[in-house]
Symmetry: C2
Subunit: 216 residues, 2 copies
């Protein structure tokens, strides 16, 4: 029973790692679509979101099945609840990659992001990518130190996000309201992606240390 | 054991109803803060978010405790998982009310929303309020018909959201980029509030009918 539970738990962990790698790849591709007006990349991300959603449902089903069959308690139960939380965060991160891809597609063949904003979005995407990589890593091998690094990554993301508004609100912003709206939403998508990564990390820390997560 | 489980489940339902009523009140007050530049209302929403977060943690603890003590299966287990999902959606709806209040406060004593946009935000807030009311209602007394109405409410929200961009992108938009950015984010907050209400409703429907929820 106990060994069976361990094996099932490993399967759930592997599914979460697969989800984390999937949303990481999705956001990388969505960013390429955004910065190079790559239509195929955008369409691929949008088509791929159903696969992430399907994984999410599989994690849920597997967890519910485990709860029903094995009635875990203590740290095993905590691991199950954590898996549900992390899966929900990852599913949402997939949606946000999808939103970035859709924004790129809506403006195609024009770039959705003008030259002045390419550096800030490149940097935001870089941090988001690093965060998704860390989530995949701590899910495969729980490590509270790596999970805690997500907080400082998120601080860096927030700084970039503030900097973005600085550019948009600068007196010499030449692109008008439509481009500002797109950039505002895109900034929000990357920033929320990072927030969900932080949440996932906190849930993994909770699993390791027993320290409860404080909702933002 | 069975009666005890029922009583515990009722307690969880009551906590969720309290959360739903709390986020509904929070968004009403945040909207008043936004539309009448009411500083006190904004501050009250921001201070109150901790109470909604605390309720969320209480629901989680209660559900984990129930899973550990009672090891529910079948529809009882489903009710537990649904409670976790709905609590997470409601917690996020509270955050979104908080974001609206913070936007109002950031512009205070100026109004964050210019006269041209007051009607659309009044309507969006009205729909959001109706949706939160329905969530509280179906949590108190599960009803798949009421839960399904949330979809058409959400369609109406999406139409208003599109209309908002129509105003912002109109050739005669006189307010510049900063006000457009605020309006873009505010529109997103109301629209996401509605999305979470739809999600909650779908989870309640799942509880009633056994039809699984499709992630957006």
């Amino acid at each position: 029973m106990r060994d069976e539970f361990r094996a099932d738990l490993d399967t759930v962990s592997q599914m979460l790692v697969e989800m984390a790698e999937g949303v990481r790849a999705a956001l990388r591709q969505a960013t390429r679509a955004l910065l190079t007006a790559d239509r195929q990349a955008a369409e691929s991300v949008i088509a791929g979101d159903a696969g992430i959603d399907a994984l999410y449902r599989q994690v849920e089903e597997r967890v519910c099945d485990l709860l029903a069959r094995q009635a875990p308690v203590a740290s095993d139960l905590r691991a199950m609840i954590t898996a549900l939380h992390v899966a929900a965060d990852l599913e949402r991160m997939g949606d946000l990659a999808d939103h970035v891809a859709k924004t790129a597609l809506r403006r195609h063949p024009s770039p959705a992001v003008p030259a002045e904003l390419r550096p800030v979005f490149t940097d935001m995407a870089g941090i988001a990518d690093r965060m998704a990589e860390k989530i995949a890593s701590v899910l495969a091998r729980p490590d509270a130190t790596v999970a805690a690094e997500l907080d400082s990554d998120d601080d860096a993301m927030d700084e970039l996000h503030k900097g973005l508004f600085g550019v948009l609100l600068g007196e010499d912003w030449p692109y008008g309201v439509e481009t500002a709206i797109d950039a505002t939403l895109l900034g929000r998508f990357y920033e929320r992606f990072a927030d969900h990564a932080v949440n996932s990390g906190e849930h993994v820390v909770y699993l390791i240390t027993g320290e409860p997560v404080t909702p933002a």
